[in-house]
Amino acid sequence: MINPQSVVLFSLALFCIGIYGVLVRRNLLFILISIEIMLNAVAVLFIAAGSYHDHVDGQLMYLFILTLAASEVAVGLGLIIQMYRRSLSLDVDQLSHLHD
């Protein structure tokens, strides 16, 4: 049995890495990947919590998050392709037309 505290810390570390990626990366593709990492951090936490409480809900939640992440990636990648076709760039700092 793994120590639940270390699982939580691992999950937290993963989440922070995701946040760091979202904030620091300029490429839209990498931002999307960072968001996936954040989702996985949450999923790990759910599974750990489910096994700790001997309950099936945690794994159920993981399946749910998996589908969510899959659809999110599908939509997100579609948008990114569209965006690249329009402006030939995936730099979020340049894609700030809504500002004006």
């Binding site: 979202v22 904030l23 300029r26 700092d93 700030s96 037309h97 809504l98 500002h99 004006d100």
Partner: protein
């Protein structure tokens, strides 16, 4: 039904000029072209009718034997204690005034036909003239102060319009503005007096005010005479109003500039209407003024100061109309002096004769200017006696009456003023009046000699039309014979020195003095003229600086500009950015600043948004954890 007849006559007198003005105004408004003949018929015809009606009023009024007649036509304002009506009040004083206003006014109307014939704005001119007369009649006949004030303001407005009649030249507009603003200072004082009297006495009816004032503030012989009590304050405020309108020191500076208007307008302002309003106001409130020795002294002092100031300024002017303007100021000063001495009938008598001879002088000056092609400098004229004998005769009569040569109309009235000054034992004022009479005679004959004697320099190129000759001839007769005392003046005021005081032995010498003064002045003037010592320039005189000071009217204009106008302009410039507005603008400045600061947050950078989202989530979580 007698009353209604008289009341209707009075109303018609006021309404006729107003009717003509309104009709002409409407025709101008709907651009109905009227020929000059029809304008003339309407405007001058209505004035003639009004003058005839005043004659009828006089005949009808003779039944009253000096009793006052008042009639209320309609209610005007009725709020609580305040009851105002459109009512007229007729007594010998207002009868004399409406007779002067309509009579002299009619003659001036008649004269204007010829004078303004070539002017493009013929109709506009007559609208203003009619309105002017109507406003003045309202002022004179009003039985309450507010109606009087209405006429008072109407006169001010019309004078502004008429002085600036030739509005194409900026100088004329400036003169009109000056007249309007200077009289406005007096008007403000009058408005304050009106409110104060209502506050203290609870009435605006002129006769009621005076009755209540006599009851409330009886003249106390024991107390110190010259104290500043309520009645003095009211009287002084009324006096300030009269000063503004009548062109007295220190508000007289608009009157010489008012010459910018057409000459008949100057005649109307100086003789029949406008400047006499102040004298009328004080005479109308004579009971109130009698209660305050302080105010009486102020009236007399202002009269004396103005008298000398204006007479000396008239000595050195070179513009024909300016000389006459200064002489008007100085003659009104005489009237104020008489009012201050309590000799109200003398003042009104002088007002009447002054209206005659000043109208004559102005109209003949107008005729002269008309026939000479708008030349007004008297040093360019000379030797015109043979070329224009009729105008010369008119001028001679006018100057003789103005300088009070014996048996002209001005002699009787001025003599009467001097005599009443002696009766009231005001010897200082009497001496000033005698000196003033000397100067008056001197400058009027300086004017006459320079224009009509000596070498001929100009040729009159126009013949006078009949419509100008008739009023001149009539005024000539009035100036010569107008001094024969009309009996109606005797019953003007109860109390005060009686008219036609008996000539006692000790005053015989003084009478001789008053006769000798103007004659000696005329002789002196003739001697100087023969030696060609009058000069337009300032270097030939012994004291050129003093002469220049006189020429500028003692520099009062410049003084007023230094004291009031320039600091005001400086204040305006200092407050150009509007200090008060800044306070209210502060609010908008703050919100605009906040807006700019908040705007910087919306920079369109996705990663900034994400960061702020995360940061606020952390803060929210921390606060939930820590605050629980």
């Amino acid at each position: 039904m007698q009353d209604h007849y008289l009341a209707n006559l009075l109303m018609l007198v006021v309404l006729l000029p107003l009717f003509s003005a309104c009709l002409l105004m409407l025709s101008a408004l709907f651009s109905v072209k009227l020929s000059k003949t029809s304008v003339t018929l309407l405007a001058v015809g209505c004035m003639a009718l009004a003058a005839i009606l005043v004659l009828l009023v006089g005949i009808e009024y003779s039944d009253y034997a000096g009793q006052s007649f008042s009639y209320r036509y309609a209610n005007w304002i009725e709020i609580g204690q305040l009851r105002l009506s459109f009512g007229f009040y007729l007594d010998p004083l207002s009868l004399v005034m409406i007779a002067i206003v309509t009579g002299v006014g009619f003659l001036i109307h008649l004269f204007s036909i010829g004078f303004m014939q070539q002017d493009a704005d013929f109709q506009r001119f007559f609208i203003y003239l009619n309105l002017f007369i109507s406003a003045m009649l309202t002022l004179v006949l009003a039985d309450n102060l507010l109606l009087l004030f209405l006429g008072w303001e109407g006169v001010g407005l019309c004078s502004y319009l008429l002085i600036g009649f030739w509005h194409q030249q900026p100088a004329n507009i400036l003169a009109a503005n000056k007249a309007f603003i200077m009289t406005r200072i007096g008007d403000a004082a009058l408005a304050i007096a009106l409110l104060l009297l209502f506050l203290l006495l609870g009435s605006l009816n002129i006769q009621e005010i005076q009755l209540k004032a006599v009851q409330l503030w009886p003249l106390d012989d024991n107390a110190s005479q010259y104290r500043l009590d309520w009645v003095s304050i009211c009287a002084l405020l009324l006096l300030a109003g009269a000063i503004g309108k009548s062109g007295q020191f220190p508000l007289h500076t608009w009157l010489p500039d008012a010459m910018a208007g057409p000459t008949p307008v100057s005649a109307l302002i100086h003789a029949a209407t406008m400047v006499t309003a102040g004298v009328y106001l004080i005479a109308r409130f004579y009971q109130l003024f009698n209660l305050s020795p302080l105010a009486m002294l102020a009236v007399a002092s202002i009269g004396a100061i103005t008298l000398i100031l204006a007479a000396t300024a008239a000595l050195v002017q070179s513009d024909l109309k300016r000389i006459l303007a200064y002489s008007t100021i100085s003659q009104i000063g005489y009237m104020f002096l008489a009012l201050g001495a309590g000799a109200y009938s003398a003042a009104v008598f002088h007002l009447m004769t002054h209206a005659f001879f000043k109208a004559l002088l102005f109209l003949s000056a107008g005729a002269l200017v008309y026939s000479l092609g708008h030349q007004q400098n008297i040093f360019r004229m000379g030797g015109l006696a043979k070329k224009t004998p009729f105008i010369c005769a008119c001028f001679l009569a006018g100057c003789a009456a103005l300088s009070a040569l014996p048996f002209m109309s001005g002699y009787f009235s001025k003599d009467f003023i001097l005599e009443s000054l002696l009766q009231q034992q005001m010897y200082g004022f009497w001496a000033i009046a005698i000196i003033g009479a000397f100067i008056t005679a001197f400058y009027s004959f300086r004017l006459f000699f320079l224009i009509f004697c000596g070498d001929c320099q100009l040729n009159p190129d126009k013949k006078l039309p009949t419509s100008m000759i008739i009023p001149l001839a009539l005024l000539l007769l009035l100036s010569v014979f107008g001094g024969i005392m009309p009996a109606v003046l005797n019953v003007l005021f109860e109390g005060g020195p009686a008219l036609l005081a008996s000539v006692t032995n000790d005053s015989l010498a003084l009478h001789l003095l008053t006769i000798a003064t103007p004659i000696s002045a005329v002789l002196l003037c003739w001697l100087i003229f023969r030696k060609h010592s009058f000069s337009e320039r300032f270097n030939s005189s012994l004291t050129p600086r003093f002469k220049y000071l006189l020429f500028m009217g003692w520099g009062i204009d410049r003084l007023q500009e230094k004291i009031f106008t320039q600091p005001f302009i400086r204040l305006c410039q200092a407050n150009k950015n509007d200090f008060i507005d800044r306070l209210s603008q502060l609010l908008s400045h703050i919100s605009q600043y906040g807006h700019r600061q908040l705007q910087r947050l919306q920079n369109g950078k996705l990663r900034w948004y994400a960061a702020s989202l995360i940061l606020s989530a952390i803060v929210a979580l921390l606060s939930i954890v820590l605050l629980r």
